[in-house]
């Protein structure tokens, strides 16, 4: 009985992760600019992986497998925000966003200040 419940729970986790992943794919297909697509794309990277890891742990039911699965989640949780941050920064600086969807632009003044500082510094150096 307990085994059956754990198997069903594992398959429910797999199906939830698959639906989350499908939502990311549809968002990737339908959203208009790079930042919106980034928003959709980063959702299954953490929660979907967590669901799949829970499914594997529920299916294997061994402590050593769970220990071996921890680094997968740790690496993904460390590196996914870094890559999302770098892509978002590059997308903003390349002007790759649609202004009409932007309600508040708190990054704009900071980028202006940084680029004007750069320009002044290079002027003094040259």
């Amino acid at each position: 009985m307990l085994d059956t419940i754990m198997d069903i729970t594992a398959l429910v986790c797999v199906a939830l992760a698959a639906l989350l992943s499908l939502a990311a794919g549809i968002g990737l297909l339908r959203f208009p600019d790079a930042l919106s697509r980034l928003h959709a794309a980063t959702k299954p990277q953490i929660f979907g992986l967590l669901l799949i890891i829970a499914a594997i742990a529920l299916d294997q039911r061994s402590f050593s497998t769970l220990i071996a699965l921890v680094p997968v989640f740790v690496f993904q949780a460390l590196t996914a925000p870094i890559s999302a941050h770098m892509v978002g920064r590059a997308a903003y600086r390349a002007g790759d966003l649609s202004e009409e969807f932007l309600l508040v632009d708190e990054l704009g003044p900071a980028v202006e200040r940084a680029s004007s500082d750069n320009r002044r510094d290079s002027g003094f150096a040259g």
């Binding site: 199906a15 794919g25 299916d59 690496f75 002007g95």
Partner: protein, 153 residues
Amino acid sequence: MTTLENALLIVALIAFTGTALCALYRVVVGPTILDRMIASDVLLTTIILVAGVDMVLRDHTDSIPLMTVLAATAVFATIAVARYVSRHAKTSEQPPAFAWANTEAAASGGADTGADTGILSTDAVDAAQQAQGNGGPEEDAAAPEAEEGTRNA
């Protein structure tokens, strides 16, 4: 129970296939390189998840090293492309500063050559003679300036 399990599995596999196809479409079509990079990141995440699903379905643990390595190294390509794009954006932002520096350099350089043509006119004549003798393309380009210098002198 088996019917429920089969239904869940079919839904999951169709959803993963749809995700991979959407990401592939965005990789092929995507207007900018950042869209392609985001889509290939989603494709890689889907591969990691499908490796995990395969382990659930077939009751083995052989793919755990694959999942670890993919999760640890997926960030490198994204960082490389993002740095490339932001450096590109920064250099395309730079041209006002560079153009300003170039115009000032050109103005001061022009003034310098104007002052030099009076003093070093003999050198200019020598250069013109050498240009006529050698006939190289660069020296041909330098020859009119030298003739101007001799005319001024």
